[in-house]
Symmetry: C2
């Protein structure tokens, strides 16, 4: 299934930036970063349970939020991208 | 249908902040802001075509990106929120 994960954090603080980096690192084990704080993970339910546990131990529950959207297995027709860089890559490396 | 709209923009510039405010204003005609740059719009296909046209005239196609995710009509079971503020409100007013 495709799980869309959106993470809301204040990146004007260094702690927020650090949490976003950690969240990104975990999500990128299962998929890709499509925007600065939006991740698409191709994942099965068991893997998702593990990932969810990790993300929720990284985030600050008082200030940050995470939303999970289950796009199911027929997700290809549900997604459309407009504008800059289809594959987001904050590190500047080229995905090939 | 529920259309999820995620907007990627550099808000460290005043132009970026301004575009985000305009995008938010348009999306909030059809739904709610659930995170800083994530919007959920309950919308029909005709309304969506109009909204899409507006958003794509506001965004900077060279630097920003928008992703649209069609969550269909059975979206209630597809969404989960963890952490701070279920209804995001950058203006500080209370939704009641």
């Amino acid at each position: 299934m495709l799980m869309l994960i959106t993470y809301d954090v204040n990146t004007e603080t260094s702690e927020g930036k650090k949490r976003l980096r950690k969240i990104a690192k975990e999500c990128q084990n299962y998929g890709q970063r499509v925007q600065n704080s939006v991740f698409e993970c191709l994942i099965d339910p068991t893997q998702f349970a593990k990932l969810k546990y990790k993300l929720e131990s990284i985030m600050d529950l008082q200030t940050d939020s995470i939303r999970y959207y289950n796009l199911g297995s027929n997700w290809q027709n549900r997604v459309e991208h407009i504008g800059a860089k289809e594959s987001y890559n904050p590190e500047g490396f080229l995905f090939v």
